[in-house]
């Protein structure tokens, strides 16, 4: 044996030693220096969370009637881990379950496939939840089915039948309120990621969403989602690599969501909806009493009843509407298409707070105080001709003819437009007309802003519309946006129109030219239109109701709201939702008092007289202040408005109704409003019984509903359905014990 061999053997041993040292070094790093990160990776690996959803809180009306509650459904679920344990992947088990619940095997089998996994059917047939969540295969099981499953545990491993809460909109007394309640929808991937990121950042006020969660997608369900949803129960399980469960590491019970008490009174809501339908029907079938019973399209409408002191929405309805229950359990494609189609005129949109309409003469409640600001006396008389010259053209008095020289009060009662043309036009001229300095404060547009028009009222519902104040700034912005279009048209003309109607083409081209060159200008006609609520100015019916509430309550600009309070299912108050009003409209109390009295005059001897007289409404006992409006819309039939509040002496409610393409305010909306007031003040024939009013006493409900210790809500006495199921279902019901987990 050579020395060379021996030497190389020594080298070999050194190499081996270095290999071993390398291993030890790496082990030191992995096991000692970096162990924390590997531990967390292992923890993530080996645990799974099962979530028991919390029962969603009820939405109650002001007197405790449930507008949204939970129906209990007997839900049969199959645990996916139990399926995996079966030798045949669970086919036989699923077949047994399918037989018991009376559904075809293929449907149930598809339901147990995870969406996106190989061989899974497309959504919604597959299961969109977590692989560790029991998969619900039916929510229509009956007790008989449940017993079959629960008593033969050995035949149904991992299958459970338990009572689960399913959302339901019971529509008490027929109150639909679909646009206010909103609906629930499945959570999206973005929301899941967003909430999870929030939780990591430590935003504890937001609950982490689970894939199977339903979240509020519109209306109150969305606005108060966090309050209503509650906290889900979480069970942390130790699992192996296949997801089979080894043990339970931690468990927290779900906490039911809180109740939302609203300002809505289901009785008034139901009556408001009924009267709105009646107005639509009247316009379509009977016709406008003031226009020789001319029939109208009446494509849509809205009604709002506000508590003038707090801004609480006692009722708010929009037409066309839909059954909110179509959203429960996932809306069908056909239903969704039907409520979002142009053919049905978009029933999913609320005209009350999302629809924008020219307010017409109801706007005089805004322009009268503005005229006072501009220096016109309330106690003087003015000429009310049938037309008023603005520049080179004559502007007509729309709803009324010439009345001669009349006192201001009479101008309001007969809704004289020409008087307001005069106020606005003269003011416009005084301010410099077309050449007014930049930043000139027009009293009319300023007053509209002070009344909160042109921006959302702050209603606690999503997607409220702004409305629009068509003032100088708006015209400027609009011109900038449309200038290019009109200038191009001014150049090219209207060759297509010219072929058939050369005169019209010439007219359109001249219009385009005008718009191109000085479309920015706030003309005298614009100012005159503005004063009578015509032109480009639009409001939502809710904004108008708020205007009349401000007139009624002495100048406070209330924030309309539906949420009244959040209560626990045990009945303790969590927080009050009444917003504080801090803004006042800049109108002297004497002016408002004059205006209230003048509006009362409208009902007693002006344009509002007809509907109340025909309804034989005892105005002597309940004096109503009102203003009609008939809005002209280019290319459409007129918008019927009726804005009001009552009693004029001690105002409680502001009621506004609008019917698009409905006809005149007094002919179409007015009669319905008169009927609605009968409900609000307990009018029967010529007698007024405030005890029979709804809500009782002829004033909005102020006390919160009473919740019993078991979570049931005390219902108003005398309701036709006193036996109403008001139980908050899930947390109090006995549950079948879930086994095999």
């Amino acid at each position: 044996m050579s020395e060379r061999s021996r030497l190389r053997l020594v080298v070999l041993q050194v190499v081996v030693l270095s290999l071993l040292v390398t291993l030890l070094g790496r082990m030191w790093y992995v096991q000692v220096l970096a162990t924390a990160s590997y531990r967390s990776a292992a923890a993530e690996n080996g645990t799974r969370q099962i979530v028991t959803p919390a029962a969603r809180g009820m939405i109650l009306d002001a007197r405790g009637r449930p507008l949204a509650r939970n129906r209990t459904a007997l839900v049969v679920s199959i645990s996916r881990t139990a399926l995996l344990r079966q030798p045949d992947g669970g086919r036989q088990l699923v077949a047994r379950v399918a037989t018991v619940i009376g559904k075809p095997f293929a449907e149930v089998w598809d339901r147990t496939r995870l969406c996106g996994s190989p061989g899974a059917p497309p959504s919604p047939k597959c299961f969109n939840g977590s692989p560790y969540q029991p998969i619900p295969v039916t929510d229509e099981a009956d007790t008989q089915m449940a017993l079959q499953i629960m008593e033969r545990r050995e035949d149904f491993p991992g299958v459970t039948a338990e009572l689960t809460a399913v959302r339901e909109y019971p529509q008490p007394l027929g109150a639909n309120a679909a646009h206010e309640l909103g609906y629930l929808g499945p959570v999206t991937d973005e929301e899941l990621a967003q909430r999870a990121a929030g939780a990591r950042r430590g935003a504890h006020n937001e609950t982490v969403l689970q894939r199977t969660d339903l979240v509020g997608r519109a209306g109150l369900e969305r606005e108060y989602d966090d309050d209503l949803r509650g906290t889900p129960g979480v069970k942390t399980l130790a699992v192996d690599h296949r997801g089979a469960v080894n043990s339970t590491l931690a468990e927290t019970q779900p906490t039911a969501g809180n109740y939302l008490v609203t300002t809505i009174d289901a009785q008034v809501q139901a009556e408001a909806e009924k009267q709105l339908r009646a107005a639509i029907k009247r316009a379509r079938t009977v016709g406008d009493v003031n226009k020789g019973f001319e029939k109208r399209k009446a494509d849509s409408g809205a009604v709002v009843v506000l508590d003038v002191r707090t801004g609480g929405v006692v009722a708010m309805a929009s037409w066309p509407t839909y059954d909110p229950n179509i959203w429960v359990g996932g809306i069908s494609t056909a239903d969704y298409r039907s409520i979002t189609s142009k053919k049905n005129n978009y029933p999913n949109q609320s005209r009350a707070f999302q629809g924008e309409f020219a307010p017409a003469s109801t706007f005089k409640a805004v322009s009268l105080p503005a005229a006072v600001k501009a220096g016109y006396s309330l106690h003087a008389s003015y000429d009310c001709p049938s037309a008023y010259p603005i520049g080179r053209s004559m502007k007509q008095n729309y709803e009324s003819h010439g009345y001669g020289i009349i006192p201001m009060r009479r101008a309001i009662e007969v809704s004289c437009d020409t008087v307001f043309y005069k106020f606005a036009y003269e003011t416009w001229l005084r301010q410099g007309g077309l050449h007014a300095k930049k930043g000139t404060k027009d009293p009319f547009t300023t007053m509209a802003q002070a009344y909160g028009l042109g921006r959302p009222t702050g209603l606690d519902l999503p997607s409220e519309s702004n409305g629009r104040i068509a003032d100088r700034a708006w015209k400027q912005a609009y011109w900038k946006a449309t200038r290019d279009f009109y200038c191009a048209k001014a150049k090219s003309g209207y060759p297509a129109v010219a072929r058939t109607d050369p005169a019209r083409a010439t007219y359109l081209r001249r219009l385009s030219k005008e718009n191109c060159v000085d479309g920015w200008a706030y003309r005298g006609g614009d100012a005159a239109n503005f004063a009578i609520g015509q032109g480009d100015t639009t409001v939502t019916p809710l904004q108008m109701a708020r205007v009349y509430a401000a007139v009624a309550n002495g100048g406070r600009l209330v924030t309309p709201h539906i949420g009244r309070a959040i209560m626990t299912p045990q009945g303790t108050l969590v927080r009050n939702l009444e917003p504080k009003t801090v803004r006042h409209i800049p109108v002297a109390p004497s002016t408002l008092a004059w205006l209230r009295s003048a509006l009362r005059g409208v009902t007693e001897r002006g344009t509002g007289f007809g509907p109340f007289a025909r309804a034989q409404f005892p105005l002597g006992k309940v004096p109503v202040a009102s203003k009609t409006g008939t809005g002209e819309v280019f290319g459409k039939q007129t918008t019927s408005w009726f804005a009001s509040f009552a009693p004029e002496t001690r105002p409680q409610y502001a009621v506004v109704m609008m019917v698009s393409q409905g006809g005149t305010g007094s002919g179409i909306a007015g009669p319905s409003v008169a009927e609605l007031y009968k409900t609000l003040f307990g009018v029967q024939g010529s007698t007024v019984d405030l005890a029979k009013a709804s809500p009782p006493g002829g004033r909005p409900t102020s006390a919160l509903p009473r919740v019993r210790a078991d979570g049931t809500v005390v219902q108003p006495a005398g309701d036709p359905s006193t036996a109403a199921e008001t139980r908050q279902a899930a947390p109090f019901l006995p549950r079948y014990r879930r086994e095999g987990e």
Partner: protein, 394 residues
């Protein structure tokens, strides 16, 4: 009754068998006890780890939770018996039987490629026997190759002469056949172990340095060509490169590495306790009782226990190295050297892959992993090394 008379071996009657064993020059005294004890300790720890790795899945499938442990202990006992047999006769006699062993092992490797062979874990390396037994001929081929190459490299020369080129060529030729057969299975891990063993043997045989350098260069070139020419299957390359970035494909090739390293890292300094490793008991690491047995040590026994395993391996390698240096002849030295290279590389590869510093190739951890063939081959190899040790100066 001391008379000053002292009995000598020359005057007394031949001692009885037990006395002969315990005699100063007897087998027991000449045994390398640190090596034997380290091997026994390692098999003991290995048994505990195999038990922990298999208990839960056996429970889940409703079987006897100790059934694999029992088979493992049986393997150890049989292995020890084989080791004793391998150490009893004079290893020099083995030179005569080397060709027989070699041909037998080639036959076994070839049989794997016939319909007799079966595929387990992606390697077509097994011959399944009746009654639930299976044999992995490549394990035994390592023993045969060590003996065969040592014979060729140590043959035909006196103590002064190093192997001539022709001897090296012959030895490499002998190694090439089993290497090729193993590659055909394909069993990349065993092929790498054989390569390491061949390189070590050629180097320590005293062959000209150009052969050592040439072999290293040749190995590098082969690897390059194999990857370029597509000789390796995609999954082999994927497995091989997964260790470079285990997170690249956590559910595919990188999954094993990722889960193995998580298990070891989660063990920390002191471990989570035997039977209490969440990763192990949750069966997140695949092939955990065989190729990934070290992860059980890492997770449940912690750095302390895992380092203990490495230390026992170090003792075994140190003693084998000592025996190689102290061997009487080149054949004995080369046998010990071959076993040293085999164990060292296989242990480094096995542990290194669980720590994500070596590619994933399926080789068992000597004396620890579950598996009869590997246990028997390891024991035979240790028996031969002890044989070399005990026959010094004899």
């Amino acid at each position: 009754m001391s008379t000053g008379y002292r009995a000598t071996p020359y005057t007394t009657a031949p001692p009885r068998r037990s006395a002969r064993l315990l005699h100063r020059d007897g087998v027991v005294r000449r045994m390398d006890w640190p090596l034997v004890l380290a091997v026994l300790a390692l098999t003991g720890i290995g048994s505990a780890l195999v038990w922990s790795a298999t208990r839960q899945s056996l429970l889940d499938s409703g079987g006897d939770p100790q059934s694999i442990l029992k088979k493992h202990v049986l393997n150890i006992v049989i292995g020890l018996a084989l080791g004793v047999v391998a150490s009893l006769f004079d290893y020099r006699m083995l030179r005569a039987y080397a060709p027989v062993l070699y041909v037998l092992s080639i036959g076994g490797l070839a049989a794997v490629l016939t319909p007799l062979g079966s595929t387990i874990n992606g390697s077509h390396s097994w011959i399944v026997l009746p009654a639930g037994f299976s044999v992995q001929p490549s394990e035994f081929a390592k023993v045969a190759l060590v003996v065969g190459m040592s014979m060729l490299l140590a043959e035909k020369r006196d103590a002064e002469a190093d192997p001539r080129d022709v001897d090296v060529v012959l030895a490499l030729g002998v190694a090439a056949v089993p290497l090729a057969l193993v590659m055909l299975q394909p069993d990349l891990g065993t092929a790498l172990v054989i390569s390491a063993l061949v390189l070590g043997l050629v180097a320590v045989s005293g062959a000209p340095i150009r052969w050592v350098v040439g072999l290293v260069a040749g190995a590098a070139l082969t690897a390059f060509v194999a990857v370029q020419a597509g000789v390796l299957k995609d999954y082999q390359i994927a497995r091989f490169t997964a260790f470079l970035d285990p997170t690249a494909d956590p559910k595919g090739a990188g999954y094993n590495v990722r889960q193995a390293t998580i298990a070891i890292g989660a063990g920390g300094l002191h471990g989570q306790g035997l039977f209490h490793g969440a990763q192990t008991q949750g069966k997140f690491v695949p092939a955990q009782q065989t190729d990934f047995i070290f992860t059980v040590a890492g997770e449940e026994l912690g750095f302390v226990g895992a380092a203990g395993v490495v230390l026992l391996l170090a003792i075994i390698l140190w003693r084998i190295g000592r025996i190689a240096i102290g061997a009487d002849d080149l054949f004995g030295r080369l046998v010990a050297t071959g076993v040293l290279c085999w164990f060292a590389f296989q242990a480094f590869e096995n542990i290194g892959m669980t720590l994500a510093i070596m590619p994933v190739t399926g080789v068992p951890l000597p004396f620890v992993s579950y598996g009869g063939s590997s246990m028997f081959a390891n024991m035979l190899a240790v028996g031969l090394v002890l044989n070399v040790h005990m026959r010094r100066y004899a």
